[in-house]
Symmetry: C2
Subunit: 515 residues, 2 copies
């Protein structure tokens, strides 16, 4: 740990940075980032600085969700869960931490990003890094050989957070997987159908689903002359093609990974290819590809996959893209990724609809990804028995970010409650009457609110309705009580009607039935 005086100096300097940015009216993101650094420095000296003051913040890379964000989150989850349920998925849940050894050896280099728990006696534990490894552990432990399940839960990665771009250390994954020995490409095609349904229903703008196969990549590397032991590392270089130009990727292959220029250029030719079933057919005629049995098996499966995707009516968005690699080690077959394309930049051309290259599309970012992993469950089975699996993970955090920005930009208010009616009074000393009335409403299943004050002002009761979007107010006064009625006010139009007490529940239901 750094010396305390050093930290206090750093706090001073950082404080000046923040003040400067503020005085220069820098962007909110920039200021937030520097404030975060400042708070972190302050956290390091914590309660020791004499003032015994708490550092009021959440852990680095994490955030609270406020009610507004939760309302958006709930909508997104509902859309996704409806889709999973429409496809007949069950759901499971697993603990947030696993035995450390359960996660060991599953994530390659990314293992360094795993959060470990402190050894407080007992087992060594780690926070889950994804939902796939716990799923495989669950299948092996319970000897389950086939299941279609979804799992929505938070996972943890000690990564460099970039919160303004939706990258956190604590974030949700929404996984759908099909485990079981089935006929080729049928479950795989259903996963792609699900990505298509979800991205369409969330109305995030245009998207593409890129498809490739690990066997095609491996076969291609082999026929291009990449040494066996370099497949994985070259694969992760190829994976950078969505962020880097080919020239830079090639440089990395040659300078860092030691390929010859010639080999790299051959790879370059293949990874520039995009298309549909026709591309798979063309490559099955390719003299070089034909040398690899693996590649041919993958290409035949891509063909079969596209035939099912046609039946599912989703080929308009699916592109067979030889540059798609995906990082994780455990994939064994088909891999895919859903990416949003900037609206306007990538119109759905006829070409793309026919499965031909959608070359001009600029990918805004991956919002779904997955593939086939036939070996993972076997790693947990004492006898190595395999359970073939294919699945997809929806990248919910980036979707939240987009929908949050959309909601902020639009004039429409996001409601954070579902309250149908506010029970209010126009005069003093009617608390008892308000509580009686709201009890009637609650007991009838009406969502209702009442102010927790003895004598609230009518204006503040009405204001609360305006602010939180409550559509109706049931107003009690001496006269209404005498007449056995309630004055029902429609907040939007300010109309008021006297409704008999007996009809009130029905009237509220009728007026808020679409809510």
């Amino acid at each position: 740990m750094a010396d305390k005086a050093q930290i206090q100096d750093a706090i001073k300097t950082q404080g000046e940075v923040v003040r400067k940015l503020k005085s220069e009216k820098a962007s909110k993101e920039q200021i937030d980032e520097e404030v975060a650094k400042l708070l972190e420095l302050k956290a390091q000296i914590g309660g020791d600085d004499g003032k015994n003051q708490f550092v009021l913040k959440t852990a680095k890379g994490t955030r609270d969700y406020n009610p507004r964000q939760m309302a958006i989150r709930e909508k997104v989850f509902n859309t996704i869960i409806s889709c999973f349920k429409r496809h007949g998925a069950e759901t499971i849940d697993t603990p947030v931490f696993e035995l450390k050894e359960t996660l060991t050896g599953k994530y390659g280099e990314d293992s360094k990003l795993i959060y470990d728990l402190k050894d407080q006696g007992g087992e060594l534990l780690s926070l889950r890094y994804d939902l796939t490894v716990p799923f495989a552990r669950y299948l092996a432990m319970n000897k389950i050989t086939n299941i279609k399940r979804y799992h929505i839960a938070k996972v943890y990665r000690r990564d460099n957070p970039a919160m303004t771009r939706g990258r956190y250390r604590e974030f949700y994954q929404c996984d759908f997987d099909i485990a079981g020995q089935y006929d080729a490409m049928i479950p795989d095609a259903e996963c792609l159908k699900i990505v298509h349904e979800i991205l369409s229903e969330l109305e995030l703008g245009d998207f593409r689903i890129k498809v490739n196969d690990r066997r095609i990549l491996d076969g291609m590397f082999a026929v291009c002359g990449v040494p066996d032991d370099k497949f994985r590392t070259i694969c992760s270089t190829v994976d950078k093609l969505d962020k880097m130009a080919w020239e830079d990727v090639k440089m990395e292959m040659v300078k860092e990974k030691g390929l010859s220029e010639e080999v790299a250029d051959q790879i370059g030719e293949y990874v520039s290819m995009q298309g549909g079933m026709d591309l798979a057919e063309r490559l099955l005629q390719d003299q070089k590809m034909l040398q690899s049995k693996q590649a041919c098996a993958g290409l035949s499966d891509i063909k079969l996959l596209f035939s099912y995707l046609q039946l599912f009516q989703v080929t308009d968005k699916v592109v067979f893209d030889l540059s798609l690699a995906r990082g994780l080690d455990y994939y064994t077959g088909i891999i895919y990724e859903g990416v949003l394309t900037q609206a306007g930049v990538a119109p759905v051309s006829n070409e793309a609809q026919n499965g031909a290259p959608a070359g001009e599309s600029v990918s805004v970012g991956s919002v779904a990804g997955g593939g086939r992993y036939d070996g993972l469950v076997g790693m947990f089975d004492p006898k190595g028995r395999k359970v073939p699996c294919v699945g997809v993970s929806i990248g919910i955090e980036r979707i939240f970010s987009i929908l949050e920005q959309k909601a902020e930009a639009s004039a429409q208010k996001v409601r954070t409650t579902e309250v149908q009616v506010m029970v209010a009074s126009a005069q003093k000393n009617l608390l008892e009457q308000r509580l009686r009335l709201i009890t009637e409403l609650w007991n009838a299943g009406i969502k209702a609110e009442v102010m927790h004050k003895k004598n609230p002002k009518l204006l503040s009761q009405l204001q609360h309705c305006e602010e939180s979007g409550i559509p109706l107010v049931a107003i009690l006064g001496e006269q209404e009580l005498k007449d056995g009625v309630v004055k029902l006010r429609v907040v939007a139009t300010r109309e008021e009607f006297d409704i008999s007490r007996a009809d009130l529940v029905g009237e509220i239901r009728r007026r808020t039935s679409e809510a």
Copy 2:
């Protein structure tokens, strides 16, 4: 860490214990418990035992939820969330871990049960112990002075698990809290109304809601002659009265905590009192109680509370019980606890309905608890500004256990999916036709399944429906395709109808509209 040979010996011995229990056909719980110990021992030597075998288990005190358990959990959550929403609550979410210092000094002795994360560089973090402290941190950090929110999430305690009784190290809390400066007892009464609604709607059998006030306890201790510095420790001894006889509690007060017999007996007299508003009125006449201003303030508030509870129509289940203490330090006023009473043992007598003692009731366990904590938010505010809060936490794990046992005991099957129809074929080579049909159904929003095989047997398709409770099967055959119809089979009655393709979606909707 113990020596490896020692552990291997322990494994051997424990293995024999398990084998012996199994041969004696001991209860499943007993065997499970000993197997858990065995697995834990094995985990300690982990992959080092030469066989390189994974220990297939979840972390101690945690569990997976299978689809059946998830279906029950979803139902319970829906009931609880509906209630929270009916009362106009918003929801928030906070990260699973907090800065360690955020949790420091909030839980008294229980702090030792907090899970810390390993120091991997950066901040020191701990898993949240409850949802109340993160809520208070959230309010202070965002300068929120009034909100009505619920939060459903997992919390973590390194406690001794007793999983057969629903006590876990990872478990859900369902919290509802009202923060803000309001008139006395109105929000408090709403919290009790919520407990009443939830426990009624979950149909867990009869229940009581015990109510007391920290100020009454403190005042009572004062007038009985307990020294100021022993209030908290005597309070936690009183808290054991629901599990221990008075004689044992008295012994602890005298022998361990150093009270005189006389003082203990005076406490004993008070803590045996149960009642309703009448008891509060009686105690307000009690010469000894009158000496404590605090106690009188508490008693007046209990009276006021009962008057609101009458308006909310929930006094039938609420008992003012002077033995209720509750462990946590942060309560400052009213406290309460919902307990299930064994069915049959505790009929709702007229006495109890009038608020008089329900003495014979045997409490099966606390399933809800909460109270007022006016000082907690101020602990996080740099200037110590207070935000009064009152809330309740629903003890969902015990409720799950009860409902799981109920479901197991009942003949009724728990469905784990909501699939309305299975798309099946009676003959071979109809995969393409099945995929076309299911696409029509999915696109129309019907929940539908299809087997991922090219040529599944009709019998196995029908069996799957029987097992998983799918009510309808849409069967395709050569004849149906020729006629432009689908054979719709009702699984329960085995009836079959030919439905024209155009009418199929409507027919499925009509027949499954209550599902």
